[in-house]
Symmetry: D3
Subunit: 295 residues, 6 copies
């Protein structure tokens, strides 16, 4: 999913986003923006720039209008940057024109969202670029902020990452505890297939080469090679490719950009990185009001 | 607010937290944890440790039980660490005993919350320690994840930081745009006081020493010295202390731990740091299942 | 806040109002206005007057359109009176033109709201007029109907009153119980300042002149002189003005219009009156349908 | 419905009440009772009296516990008065024992509810007493605060009044506009019966004796004699009783206690009074904290 | 209520319907229609027919647009059939033109609703036709799908049936258990009238001719003759008509179309049929996409 | 999934069920069960049987207690039948003991749910029995009542059927329209795999043998043979088994019990039947109150 192709942009998760908006305003605006009410006339209008103050990838532009609309405001918005674009410090993302009070009330909320999503997309693209040219894709995890699953995964996809399962419900992922409860990871895989009759994709986590070998003649779709050192990981890939070329391979654990680059040669299908969404550094964006006038 | 005094712990924001829970389960569990349903018997019970894998400060322990309860589970929970405690890698935070399926369904949700809050508290305490012994306090901002305002600010307080205003509604903060709309920051301050008749605390942001001087005989309660370099900042404090010792002083902009230490001598009342909540690094915590049995 | 200045009208609390609307219709319309359904054709249209049948102050005009819109109706509305205007019996507030069924379904709901808000504004203005020319303002309290806080306080402001704190969260008000818990009202004031570091306005209630004196060199912003007789009240003001001219003074307890007039000379900043919102007399307003036609 | 018979007490409308509670706390407590948090230790406990400071009728006692429970508090509550009882100034309604913070956070909310409901019950009983001994009952109307329909009508019933229809949905009431749309009130009555086939009680409003006569051989169940002067009203009753003894009769318009007493001889079945719920005078009740201790 | 008269169509219960829509999409679309997202471009538009594949009665046409609108789609819709019309297999109900993804996402939801409502209307009309020409009407019951009460009853009315009470709240229906609790059905009737003073329609169920006779001089409005065989039923009608011609009569129990035809001569006012709504056979309707184009 | 194995019972979808409960009571009880309120004392208690009046399969027993609990009632419940059991007319499903009013208020709601779910389970088991001994499983579809997806599918599983995908989100199903948009069904399959990288199970619908053949060397997991006559269906299975034994096969269209039996020899993996959930016949169950007493 090359991030530079407009067509491949994921759909903005409007429904999930809109559910957060009432709380966003409730917790931030409460009974009113008392400062703006006292100092700015309701009829005052003005222009503002949404300005990027750091290089990175922009994700979340569609939310800006939704924030205003939710609050009953309708500024005119001139987009000057595409969703998913690489931006530099000083780039103007959009120009807004409308009620000054609207801009002041919505400023922090839209920035708080936009800075997180762009921060996620920025790092996802660093990984995607590091793996470019090979067949290995970068995956996200379920380590997202509760309430932000769809938004965080959207930002990963905007950055050029690939989304792993959305939740516990849309794909099977057999981990250590499941394997133990069934006696072995292979027993767990068989149990899952007996129950769901092939209606879900099945992935199983292995921690040793023996566990890996036990799955090669099963119907598992993906094997997750968890917490292996580089050497073991390379060997695991070789074993799996030889014994079951049909099965896809994912690596996880202790992953950072340097290691991702190092293991890109191993021939993995996926590398998953929890930090993409659990440790997000906000991209620095600000709303700069340019001037004002009277309606 | 020394974090080691049990009495000074803020109240856990249960209401705000509980509003997030339905979404947390809806987005993660959806129509069911299909892996656990297929591999683990509903009657299986087990024990687990909540284990810290990195040194830091723990914030959010009360949420663990709420997560289980919301989903209808009631594991027994033995606390082995106090809210706000400094922890080391390897420390067991609590021991859980109950349904295996319960623990697997709730694991990711409770960790996603707990790791964010503990990550915030950890950094807040680093700042608090850096300022210890002086009269300068570390403040948070409104740069929190929408929906997480109360939780993020709770974690700051657990770490030893002080909470700035909760939102736009409970304190006046006059910024550049408000000042411009009124002609000057002083005019904005006067307008605010005329309207609210002293029923709100009033803070005003200044960017120059002239703006600062214009407020010294006003009724403003706090002056925010925004984006000044060290030298200007020191001069600003001296001017304000001489002219209006009653007014409190806050510095913000380009703040990091090193700079906070550097300017602690200036005699500021507050230093505010957006990164405390807008760029959070999750503290590494895991739920390790220890064994299992039959009911 | 002179009610005759259009600019000073408070913003109608749309969000708080809109939350009440679903219940309003659910409890009143339920599964349908069975009388109108059976007797009036869905296509029938007509005109109606919103008519004032008693002199007073109108508050709540913006809600009329919201009631119709919430229910999916869009009558044309011609305003013939401004929010906050003084009206006489016989004055037409607005002319409506649209679906007859719409008007009959919405009539009672909009009148129930409008009559309460106008009733509150009417009495608030009586107090405001009684104090006109002096520096004493009339304040409301937290004695509002649960769910109506924002609406009731809006009506007070439309009438010319000033809003006291919105709730327990946006201003400190130390009462007898808090004082007792801390040993003295002064101790309570100091404790509050230590915790919030000046980020909230602090008011403290005193019942004796000694309590009053104990606060004069504190950082309290407002002192509430509660339940004092006229003589003590006058003395309290004199003591406070002499000892701490910076501190604002509020009187409460056993307040009615006559007493408010009597004590306006004392030089208080505020007089607060619970009855403004806890004992409201509806202003008599009716919706009179004028005729009808076919679409 | 004599209020002194325990059996005849209406059921407290818990569901309707509980829907108001989240808003009550949201608007009043918001992010926290900052005064109590700063001045009272979370572990402090105490005793309080709910004290009546004016004579009247108590309605709403069951809500007190619901308010505390909703907020997660469980004080022990010793009832010292029965729902619907006549009380005097100085009577203790209940004694509470529990967390001081709980009492301070819930105090205003429970009083705001209780004072309104008791205010309604007090006046309802004055009317009920005025009509005692005859066959005329006092009815309420739909002039209740939106969101409070069930609560306001509950209070009327506790006071000894009888509830008219709950809303537009559970009984037919043909008013002037419906009559006009059908050509005559009689035509409207017939149309209603044709549609509902007798599955709803049907009441029709008349304004003249001719209209009244036109209904005497119809299947209408109740006739509302609206806005008639005493003389016409008496004549209307005589005409109706002679021509259709089966039909019940209600009078409304310009009703106060004096007039209710005056017309009690006429033999009406019902007198309806909008002011019972649209213009409520709060009964003066307070929560007095008696002392405190340590847990 | 002849279904062929446009005027007599009941109002579509929009509010009840709209409450179901969020769940409908939440449970069916979840985090997205992954098939359409991957195979159809967001910009693709097309035309579709809503096609009836079985003869019957159409109920629910207004819901089609609401389903699209709820999801933010606005296809153009050309109606080719009226609500309540008799349709044959092959009839086109409407032509749609708009986003292909919109049609695929909404298809199943709108069909699931429409097929149920049309299935109900179809059978209701079979009964209504069977009773045509007489004075007996077909009634529904409270045996509807929870959440679908208003919709199911709407469909019955579209088909030509008459709605019995909406719920437990808008009409009294004394059944066996109530009678037993009061000693006899007559005692229950009297108790009800004493309490509600004639403000609700009162129906009582009888199972024997003696019970029937005991009610003939009461104020009951309707008598339900439950589970009687044909012979007893005929006798019951004769007894009631002779003794109390004013009282309406309803029969229920073991009702099917054949029996309804058989007993139509008895002179009953109502026959109620639970199967109308508790055992619904979906009418076969499909959404056929006709072609597509590019925007 | 043999229904007689207790272990294989699906988990009752409590969350989905509980969301329906507020509406169930709101639409049925509304402002109160006026009949029971007037005729039965609040303190009256009694016993009742939940009685099956028709042979079939019971699904939904866990909901009975949830209905009472939601309304605040806690009758004692003695189960006399297991979820999923085959029952005969006259079998007592459970014995209840508790408040008479509770049983009367909850009766219809719990029966409306229970009768639908048991009706679905009854037919699902007829299909499951018809296919017993072979390898073909019966599948449900997305033709469920909006809001009832989880409940309807639960009942299918209790009856012995297998659940197809839960919604549009958890499995890919390429239908005619998707194939057409991509040029061919094979192109659609490839496009899906390119996008999701094997993280979802992929099923594709074919209508001809040529379409079938085009998929045999693709990575599709399941092929749906739609609307084929028996002869073509048999040939399709033979072609697929010979060319791609790994791919699972499902048949749909014009399915009834007789045909299911006829084609069970063909060697299909799945037969899907929309009528399982779109045309449900309620199983006849009643709540019979046995007697009463005083508390």
């Amino acid at each position: 999913m090359p991030a530079t192709t407009a067509n491949s942009l994921p759909a903005f998760p409007s429904e999930a986003f809109d559910r957060l908006l009432p709380w966003a305003f409730s917790e931030d605006e409460g009974h009113g923006d008392i400062t703006s009410i006292a100092t700015i006339e309701e009829s005052a209008v003005g222009r503002a720039h949404l300005l990027c103050k750091q290089s990175g990838v922009i994700a979340g532009l569609p939310l800006v209008e939704r924030v205003f609309r939710h609050r009953g405001f309708h500024p005119s918005i001139e987009l000057r940057c595409a969703e998913g674009a690489d931006v530099e410090s000083g780039d103007v993302l959009m120009t807004l024109h409308g009620s000054m009070q609207a801009m002041l009330v919505c400023e922090r909320i839209l920035l708080n969202f936009l800075q997180r999503l762009s921060g996620i997309a920025t790092v996802a693209r660093e990984y995607a670029r590091a793996l470019e040219g090979g067949n290995t894709r970068i995956l996200d995890t379920r380590k997202t902020m509760p309430g932000y699953r769809a938004l965080d995964k959207y930002a990963v996809a905007v950055g050029g990452g690939t989304n792993h399962r959305m939740g516990l419900y849309d794909m099977v992922l057999i981990k250590d505890n499941h394997a133990e409860a069934c006696g072995s990871v292979r027993a767990a895989v068989d149990k899952v297939l007996a129950r769901y009759a092939g209606t879900y994709t099945v992935e199983a986590e292995v921690r040793t080469l023996d566990e890996l070998r036990s799955l090669l003649d099963s119907s598992v779709d993906i094997i997750l090679l968890d917490n292996m050192d580089d050497e073991t990981l390379r060997e695991a890939v070789d074993i799996a490719r030889a014994g079951a070329p049909r099965i896809k391979l994912e690596a996880s654990g202790n992953m950072d950009l340097a290691r991702a680059k190092r293991i890109r040669e191993f021939g993995l299908d996926f590398i998953s990185v929890g930090a993409l969404t659990h440790s997000v550094k906000a991209l620095d964006i600000s709303l700069d009001i340019l001037g004002e006038g009277r309606k």
